[in-house]
């Protein structure tokens, strides 16, 4: 357990990722995953309005029935530059799906376009939604998340909005390439913000599959970083959950020498971002973000397939500037 920011409650060092929960075999598996995670000592739960078109939030809500007060629940809002009203509408939907009257942390999702910080802080922008939700007690803390470039995170911090937390990719490859570890993590610590790590296996574990690093090394590395509060990991199957719990229970951080060894081992594969496609491509930028920014959509994306399956197949799933 680690303190959430300077004065926040204690949360588990391993966090339960919402995106992968929506990829569980079925709802029953999902609720079981949530239950076993809680029993295993996980208290931090991640989610997002747009994950699997609401399925991730709904399944997590089911899994948390009767256990809401045992967890620190986070979800994210997907305005992607659009206005405050849309943000607040999304919050109401998230609360309903999650079966709760408040979240513990509400973050801006997918801050990954160069102009997102400007759009966030503009009059009538999503910054006002965060402030209002906090004031109304619908969230205890607020923050933002993104996976693209440390310079965009630093621009968000430079808006001087009083964020409680910041989420970012943290893994040994990141240390060498457009590094959040080196540029953003120390800045978060300096400001007393909670730092949430993600993508310890680079999103899909490509580097593990190709043998550049083991899953255990990668997760232990991310959890050992100085200043990181929670490492959020995707666990869509029970065996992945069990594997991660084994590492997290009684976790002892790597020594500095061990960490250096992991960094050295991946260095040759880090310099072009081949295993960090969330930085070097728009593969990990969800359809909601792409459409808001008028970027091409990817028909192969899981979310996109869901949307197309559920609508008229016209390729324009979201009315401009609004959510259903």
């Amino acid at each position: 357990m680690r303190a959430f920011g300077r004065s926040g409650p204690a949360v588990s060092a391993l966090g339960f990722g919402g995106h992968h929960l929506g990829e569980a075999e079925d709802e029953q598996t999902a609720t079981r995953l949530v239950g076993e995670a809680i029993d295993g000592g996980v208290t931090f739960f991640d989610n997002c309005w747009e994950y699997h078109r609401g399925k991730s939030e709904e399944w997590m809500g089911k899994g948390l029935q009767g256990r809401r007060d045992r967890v620190f629940l986070m979800t994210k809002v997907c305005t992607h530059g659009r206005d405050r009203e849309l943000g607040l509408r999304m919050l109401e939907q998230s609360l309903r799906r999650l079966g709760t009257d408040h979240v513990d942390l509400w973050q801006i999702h997918g801050v990954s376009f160069d102009n997102d910080p400007d759009l966030f802080i503009r009059p009538g922008g999503a910054a006002e939604a965060l402030a209002q939700a906090k004031k109304q007690g619908k969230t205890r803390f607020v923050g933002f998340s993104g996976h693209k470039d440390p310079s965009i995170h630093l621009k968000m911090l430079a808006t001087r909005f009083p964020f409680d937390s910041v989420q970012m990719p943290l893994n040994p490859f990141d240390h060498h390439f457009r590094s959040f570890e080196r540029q953003v993590l120390p800045e978060a610590a300096r400001r007393g913000m909670a730092a949430l790590g993600m993508k310890s296996l680079q999103g899909r574990g490509d580097a593990v599959k190709k043998g550049a690093v083991t899953a255990e090394q990668a997760l232990r590395y991310a959890m050992s970083l100085d200043g990181v509060t929670v490492t959020i990991a995707g666990m869509e199957k029970l065996d992945v959950l069990h594997q991660n719990l084994k590492i997290a229970q009684g976790f002892q951080p790597m020594t500095a020498a061990e960490m250096q060894k992991v960094r050295d081992a991946v260095k040759a594969y880090a310099g072009d971002g081949r295993f960090e496609l969330y930085k070097t491509s728009i593969k990990y930028d969800n359809p909601e973000a792409r459409t808001a920014h008028e970027f091409p959509i990817d028909l192969e994306q899981a979310e996109m397939k869901l949307i197309l399956g559920a609508s008229k197949n016209d390729g324009t799933p979201y009315p401009k500037g609004g959510a259903q």
Binding site: Y269, I282, E294
Partner: protein, 334 residues
């Protein structure tokens, strides 16, 4: 070079572009020429892009495009070893048969981090396909990965091939190109090699977003390196198709920058004629007009939506992806 003499003789009708300080020469109604950096060559301010040439309907149309371009005063022809598996070079070679000395021929080498010997082999293939014994300009293609400069400049890397080709007279001048990020271009320039040319995306959206115009162009001017512009309309005309600017505005803006040549893809006679409409007797935009266009484009520019070559994998070729162990274009389309 015959071109140089010809055009110096026609400077009676020559003009100097006041707004951007462009030294243009050429006959009235023809496509103006500009100096190619410090090389002593003069090149047309509009160049024929090699990728699109290989996308012409057939060899006949490709030849017609090249002929018409030459007759209109265009002398700069772009190409690359990997365009359409060699077809772009082959068609250009066929089209320039008997006319080689009227053209400034550039092609690019696609080592993507591999060593000098790979580059020299590609050079021989390019020369054979282009049916010539020398290139006027040979450039390293697609310098777009953060570690490319390091790989290119390592011992026995591609940079040594450039030096050798120049020494052997197989390439008169050398340079590099890339479409991803100004910082990668600046890294290349900081490594102490005397490049003659540098190619980059230049358009009215680039002006305010990860800007080659702001960061690389002045550096080239300072060093006397010839700037070659490309992607004046976003790569596949994205900015035009979405109505953000007209094709004419976009091309005029790019050509009004202090570049030697703006390379444009013209896969049909129709597109060539449209571009010639802009390029014949070209007069650069006034500074105020350029500024107005930049301002108009500023918001859409700020997330890179019409410059997908900077913000997505869409324009990153499979050969480079392979060398860098990235997913293929089929696996990762954008």
């Amino acid at each position: 070079v015959t071109n140089r003499r010809e055009f110096l003789e026609t400077t009676g009708a020559g003009l100097v572009a006041a707004s951007a300080g462009l030294a243009q020469t050429g006959s009235a109604g023809g496509v103006p020429h500009r100096p190619l950096g410090k090389t002593g060559l003069n090149v047309s301010c509009l160049g024929v892009g090699g990728y699109h040439l290989g996308a012409a309907k057939d060899l006949k149309e490709a030849k017609q495009i090249v002929d018409t371009a030459l007759d209109a005063g265009i002398n700069f022809f772009d190409n690359a070893w990997d365009y359409h598996e060699g077809r772009s070079e082959e068609w250009l070679g066929e089209a320039l048969k008997g006319k080689r000395d009227r053209a400034v021929v550039m092609t690019k080498v696609c080592t993507h981090g591999r060593d000098k010997s790979v580059a020299m082999r590609m050079l021989e293939e390019s020369l054979r396909r282009l049916q010539t014994d020398h290139l006027d300009v040979w450039q390293i293609h697609e310098v777009i990965y953060d570690n490319d400069p390091e790989l290119i400049f390592r011992p026995n890397g591609a940079i040594e091939a450039l030096a050798q080709a120049k020494k052997e007279g197989k390439a008169r001048f050398v340079g590099f190109t890339g479409h991803k990020d100004p910082s990668i271009h600046l890294d290349m320039l900081a490594r102490g090699f005397a490049f003659d040319t540098v190619q980059m995306p230049l358009n009215c959206f680039d002006a305010t977003f990860r800007s080659f115009e702001q960061r690389v162009l002045p550096e080239l001017q300072r060093r006397g390196i010839a700037p070659l512009g490309m992607k004046s309309m976003g790569g596949s005309g994205e900015m035009v198709r979405h109505g953000a600017v007209t094709a004419e505005e976009a091309l005029r803006y790019a050509m009004s920058l202090p570049v030697a040549v703006t390379i444009s893809g013209m896969e049909s006679m129709g597109v060539l004629q449209q571009n010639l409409g802009v390029a014949r007797g070209f007069q650069p935009m006034a500074a105020a007009e350029m500024q107005k266009l930049r301002e108009r484009c500023r918001f859409d520019a700020s997330d890179g939506r019409w410059e997908l070559f900077k913000t997505t994998k869409k324009y990153d070729g499979d050969l480079g992806r392979q060398q860098h162990d990235f997913p293929t274009a089929e696996e990762l389309p954008v």
